[in-house]
Amino acid sequence: MRDASKIESVISIRGLRTGFGDHIIHDALNLDVFRGEVLGIVGGSGTGKSVLLRTIIVLNRPLSGTIRVFGQDMANLSATERLAIERRWGVLFQNGALFSSMTVAQNIMVPMREHLALPDALMNEIAAMKIAMVGLPPDAGAKYPSELSGGMRKRAGLARALALDPEIVFLDEPTVGLDPIGAAAFDALIRDMREALDLTVFMVTHDLDSLHAICDRIAVLAEKHVIVAGGMDAILNCDHAWVREYFHGPRGRAAVQANR
């Protein structure tokens, strides 16, 4: 679909080293995320997938290494430049991280209210449209997060992440805690959104079906760095022990067959 000459790296990570105290999580980690792709990040529990995501979106400070987003080094930006970049991405945290004192619609309007000067009527309309886009029923707009199910909360979180039409969305385990039908619907939603909005998606996931269904490329995190990154075929041919076990284990095989 994408032609090779247009490939542009929107996130590029070089020689990243992160850690807490003397516990090093990543060392000499390199990774590229290309415009318009869905990149899946996999790795065992505690290998630092969430930490990597948080480091890219500057919630964690790296010990060394550079992270470039849209070609700009995140470490040397002024506050306003950083804000400008932050508005170009949206983040869906694992549990939605919705503001509990606001309704779903108000949650979606927060970024618009804070960053833009738009008429209220337009903000309401846009919020309603986003609610429809992520497949929530219209009455969900006036509900508080505590009145939603886990899957609805994820959708609402996605709607908020998409409020400003970002170019990149970061998703931390978006399908965890959803039933298989809900998870498949969420995969379809992300694929649709990607097509329609020309999104780049950075997705941490353990869901083998998601990996097969929507990811263009997969990056495997192990031994403190990305041991292999590429399309599903490249991953299936990788002979690293953990990768073999992950993708050729009973669940991995089932997913491969299901998606053949």
């Binding site: 542009e8 509990s100 009527a121 846009i126 929530l136 009455d139 039409d165 909005l197």
Partner: protein, 390 residues
Amino acid sequence: MTQAQDRGPPFPQGLTEPAVIQFSQTGSICTASARGQWTISGLAEPDMALRHWQPEKTQKVVFDLGTLARQDTAGAWILHRARRDLRSKGIDAEYTNVQSEHAALLARVGMNDQPAAIEPPRSGTLLMALSEIGRGVSEAFMEGRALLGFLGLTMATLGRTIANPSSMRWTPLIYHMEAIGLNAAPIVALISFLIGVVLAYQGATQLRQFGTEIFTVELVAISVLREIGILLTAIMVAGRSGSAFTAQIGSMKLNEEIDAMRTLALDPVEMLVLPRVLAVILVLPMLGFISDMMGLFGGGVMCWLVLDINPALFLQRLHEWVPLAHFWVGLIKAPFFALMIGLIGCYEGLQVEGSAESVGRLTTKSVVEAIFMVLVLDGVFSIFFAVIKF
């Protein structure tokens, strides 16, 4: 790739070419041409223009999107809404020169045109206000009844624990006694001392006008021992520990820890409520005693400084003229106040539901309710002691 400097804030691709809508009329066809960056940051103006636009004597409106530079969902939405509104008025409206990359988005926005509620409905009429009051009153009664039920539950659990002392949770009990009592002792002592000082000073200045300043000793002693010492302590404990009970139990409730206890066949009342309530009941009289002593001490110091009543004289006067009954009247109220504070704190904690906001709301409620109930109870005791002439 473009240089970093070209992409100035706030919107890197925007602002060079603002979103514009221009109207032109040829015959009965009106053309609205959209130019520039139709992205969410710069849409306020075209939104207003299209919202208030009333095409006249027009059979057909054409939206010319040929020179649209960039478009996001919000931009597509405004165009879609304008076309939809025209069509609903019976005017034929079409897009022309749609660029291929914009067509999909326009279609998708069209598919997701559904109004959504923003806030739960609420109205502000007089009737609403009245029914609000009615609901408040009936809720207060319901709450009173529920609290009574909770008292019964706690007492039943206490009874079971007394019958079977091995089920008593000693460690939390001691922990809470330390948190509620020992840790609060310094502040209770300090405040009581200051109140004693203030009472003695005010009493001395007023009574001196009548030459009866020696009665300052009785004034301080009776008011501190009978009322102020214990009331002050109870209010401090309600604010310090009652609120802590609600917040602790409330956060556990949010985290589903209470549900987890139930599924493990553990009784939350026995595990959480009983140690806290017992701890307040045991500790509040001690704090009240400290408060009494420090209040008298503060009064004594002030009497010495202002009235030249030396400590020996103060003690003698206290001994001769202030019956011990006042001390007992004050102290006997302590366990009842404590029960109120502990019960309300834990009960409100268990009422937490949904969100962090509910923890905050119920914590406030528990403190206000506990202090209110302590004062009501104090009034009841005053009447009771007056009737039995104690």
